[in-house]
């Protein structure tokens, strides 16, 4: 039972990352991030139950609550008042982004299968999924221009790192994982405030409008 459920949960994390590249409407982007956070919590929960590790189960609960509910709520708040409904001008259009995402997945699997063999567990074999999520997150950061999409990219990168950590190690210490998660939460809050100030000053969310200094 352990291996198939773990495969499904890690697979869900990657599918959500692809979904974040695929969808352009802000609402479905946020939903993707939310589902991905819950899937990540599920991965930690399955590993925690399998290893009989109470700390990992507690980490799973914290990850699921913060990444599955709190961050999507904050993101939703940041965009609630704005007129922006979808990512309007990505640097790379969606079909090309999807093909690039496919290449990134192949790249991740081609380069990091060795790590899985080195770790040697059933979970270790799934490490490339985490790396692929991370790469897709970086790609979203580069290719999308709206702050909301960039926050989503940041969250994808963080979820990819957390997934690799869960799969590689015999349980991340509770304190470290909660520290990292709260760090990202703080980052998202700051970005959210920045986005709202941007919208207040310029009436728009476009980061490219920030080209010269103001008083």
């Amino acid at each position: 039972m352990f291996s198939p459920t773990l495969t499904f949960a890690t697979g869900a994390v990657l599918v959500c990352a692809i979904g974040a590249v695929w969808m352009t409407s802000v609402r479905s982007l946020i939903r993707m991030v939310s589902i991905q956070g819950l899937a990540l919590g599920l991965v930690a929960l399955i590993l925690g139950i399998h290893q009989g590790d109470g700390g990992l189960i507690a980490t799973a609960a914290v990850v699921a609550v913060i990444k599955g509910f709190v961050m999507p709520f904050l993101l939703g708040r940041a965009t609630a008042g704005g007129s922006l409904v979808r990512e309007t001008r990505p640097l790379v259009n969606v079909p090309a982004s999807l093909v690039i995402a496919a290449l990134l997945i192949v790249l991740a699997f081609a380069t990091t299968r060795g790590i899985g063999r080195f770790v040697g567990t059933a979970a270790g074999r799934l490490v490339p999924v985490g790396v692929a999520t991370l790469l897709i997150g970086f790609f979203v950061l580069v290719a999308r221009r709206r702050p909301i999409s960039q926050m989503v990219g940041l969250l994808l990168v963080d979820n990819g790192i957390a997934l690799v950590a869960f799969l590689c190690t015999a349980g991340v210490p509770f304190l470290i994982e909660i520290g990292a998660t709260l760090d990202v939460l703080l980052g998202v809050s700051v970005l959210m405030v920045l986005a709202q100030r941007l919208a207040g000053e310029l009436g728009d969310f476009d980061l490219d409008a920030l080209q010269e200094l103001h008083d």
Partner: protein, 320 residues
């Protein structure tokens, strides 16, 4: 490939499949129209209406545009005759139709592509604005959806260690564990999107409209009339039926006849018809709930199917 299967029954199976697809395709279209009408609170035409339409069209005179070349009149024939071999050799009713060893995945996708290219060339041949527009749109979508179909079925062929479609179905019947893996789920979603895109169903193309801004398949068939139009319509419904049946048998293979004999064949036929009818009603119900996608967002949808199928192949290779 066909040991234990008498030659006569193998030929009978293929004949049954071709006739079943030729009659069942229009009936499937009629069933989907009926479902849609019922869900919208209308009575709707009878289910056999598309068949009656075909009979009516065959009797009508066929006219040709003045400057059309031979490509125009050959295209509908190629369109239909590229679909017939797929219906004959694919595992639709039984796992061993005639020439089952030729039913390679690449051969089937090649035949599908041959049909699409033929009809697009026929549309381009007359030089009308609509024909060219429809052809360019159909090829734009097909350029993404045909590879997605190929890659999605490759994901299924990796655990079966063969690209022969009947063998894939036989081996998934022998190993039911394969049916519930992540890569199969991904391939399933990709395959469904490809079916919708290839057969011009609702989120991609609206089969009921002739609005120039939106139509894709209908734009290519505007110049055809009489028996040519009947061929095009029959070919389109046959492609749709073949794709849906292949989908049903690849992902839910139970019920397909695995041994020769009238009893097995009857059971296989009934189960296949039931599976395809359920899928058709389901798709039609889904169509009532969605609006047509903007044309420029259709490539996004199909590219998504392509990524999902690539992911399916990668995970099939990595997670045994």
């Amino acid at each position: 490939m066909t040991e234990g299967w008498p030659v006569l029954s193998v030929v009978a199976i293929s004949l049954l499949q071709v006739i079943g697809v030729a009659v069942g395709g229009p009936l499937l279209v009629g069933l989907m129209r009926k479902t849609r009408c019922r869900l919208e609170g209308r009575l709707g035409p009878p289910i056999r209406q598309p068949l009656l339409d075909l009979r009516k069209l065959i009797r009508r005179e066929r006219t040709q545009p003045e400057h059309a070349s031979w490509v125009f009149s050959v295209a509908p024939l190629v369109f239909v005759s590229a679909t017939i071999p797929i219906a004959a050799i694919s595992p639709l009713v039984a796992t061993h139709p005639a020439f089952a060893s030729a039913a390679d995945l690449f051969a089937i996708v090649f035949l599908l592509l041959l049909g699409s290219v033929a009809i697009a060339l026929g549309a381009l041949d007359t030089g009308t604005a609509f024909g060219g527009m429809g052809a360019s749109r159909a090829i734009t979508i097909g350029a993404l959806s045909e590879p997605a179909l190929l890659v999605a079925v490759i994901a299924l062929s990796v655990p079966a260690r063969t690209s022969n479609v009947p063998a894939i179905v036989t081996r998934s019947l022998a190993h039911p564990v394969w049916l519930a893996t992540p890569q199969r789920l991904l391939a399933l979603v990709a395959f469904l999107i490809v079916i919708v895109a290839e057969s011009g169903r609702l989120p991609v193309d609206n089969p009921g409209t002739h609005l120039e801004l939106t139509m894709i398949h209908e734009a290519m068939t505007l110049e055809y009339s009489g028996s040519d139009l009947a061929l095009v319509k029959a070919g389109a419904s046959m492609r749709f039926a073949v794709l849906l049946t292949l989908f049903a048998n690849l992902f839910v293979p139970w019920g397909i006849a695995t041994a020769a004999g009238a009893g097995h064949l009857a059971l296989g036929l009934v189960s296949t018809v039931a599976k395809v009818a359920i899928l058709g009603v389901g798709l039609s119900t889904f169509e009532v709930a969605v609006a047509k996608l903007r044309l420029f967002r259709v490539p996004e949808l199909v590219a998504g199917a392509f990524v999902l199928s690539v992911l399916a192949v990668v995970s099939a290779l990595v997670v045994p």
